[in-house]
Subunit: 185 residues, 3 copies
Amino acid sequence: MSSPTYNNNNNNSNSNNGSQLANMELLTLDNPVFCCYLFWATVLVAKMLLMSLLTALQRFRYKLLGLVPLAVRRKVFPNEEDLFFKNIEVQFDDPHVERVRRAHRNDMENILPYFIMALIYVCTNPNPLVACNLFRVAAIARIVHTLVYAVYPVPQPSRILAFATMMLITFYMAAVVALRTLRFI
Amino acid sequence: MSSPTYNNNNNNSNSNNGSQLANMELLTLDNPVFCCYLFWATVLVAKMLLMSLLTALQRFRYKLLGLVPLAVRRKVFPNEEDLFFKNIEVQFDDPHVERVRRAHRNDMENILPYFIMALIYVCTNPNPLVACNLFRVAAIARIVHTLVYAVYPVPQPSRILAFATMMLITFYMAAVVALRTLRFI
Amino acid sequence: MSSPTYNNNNNNSNSNNGSQLANMELLTLDNPVFCCYLFWATVLVAKMLLMSLLTALQRFRYKLLGLVPLAVRRKVFPNEEDLFFKNIEVQFDDPHVERVRRAHRNDMENILPYFIMALIYVCTNPNPLVACNLFRVAAIARIVHTLVYAVYPVPQPSRILAFATMMLITFYMAAVVALRTLRFI
């Protein structure tokens, strides 16, 4: 819990001087911005992996809850070798499963490019306060997106707002990085 | 705009001497190869995010253009809560929307592994001239791919050529890295 | 082949002392853990790209083998401009092609977050022996997953075991990183 040496502040002042020499320690645990990125990226990776489990849970849903004898008709597996009961058929169009899969695909479309973009953004030595808050807001927005999309569907504006939050943050990071690196086109 | 110290050249000569000591500054803004990677990766991230907007645009297409009264029948939303007009139905098979979605999926299948591969490639301290041109060609090839696939469909050889360009570049990078790191198997 | 200077050991002892100063050389070729990550990530990137080729191969399958005159009916292309013979139709539901595509999607869902997670994990300076073996096991598990899913379908427990191996490794890495960076929340 000893406070780390905030080299980052030194870097910052250097970059104000127009020098780019002090960037070499950006991708280390000495840099609090990088640590913040690590933490929230970890949260999002865990969230994405849980989507796989949520899909599996939706496939087994009624069976796990043990509520409904009709359960056998709800098992929806895409592969023949996944049919544990021989009297059911391969099925692709269960609405609950497909909803979780669309949410998962949306995650891949947005979170994976964000990981790269945010890592690149850390390399440009951004303002720590701005960067950390962007990471926090983006991660929480995507968790809300998953909740209102896949877990408990909610009327529309909520999902679009959560979706747009991370997208705008990613575009902002892209603009910052593009301006910094434009002469290396 | 003062020219950065091209430590990279020093690194290169060092690696020719069989030493691996000077690699520690590769992932910084001092390294022009890394800056070039940052710029073109940013371009590709922005392109990928625009695919989401293009999908949404295709869903609202006729409505936005305000051209056709039949528009109501063209809105194709996968979720029930997305239906802004209650007299239309959930639909999954609009050819224009599905084409953009296939292009987006193809982007994910190819560009996201490329991001990781190119970042790894930068870590092996490649020849700056080769590396920068690979980044440029790969990014432009994918932009062409999107144009001929999702924006304005063009007869076949064009899309396969654009697709193969980035794939071959990625395989080349993989071969270079695998040869450098083979003894750590 | 001269043995590299294992700075990593120094780093490790430093981190045991509670200091975080020596982390700055983690993402270089001097760090054997990073080299091991590079090698196995390269293998997985190549494997993912081969899935695209496998999909294309499945689409052309019977034609390439030249076995069956019915081949013309098996060509399953999603886009109209891909139809090389005008007497066949656009088709979406070939079971062999869809199986490879599901395997490819599963790769994207699991391997791409793993790339980011493992890179982050390297940044926390893990025990070299543990980290290298995790990378090896995870990569081999996914290769097995592809073989039993897309190449030669095998009865069920095999695929779930291969799938769970990488997922558990990713969760383990996430737990390690989250504990290290928890105070930057």
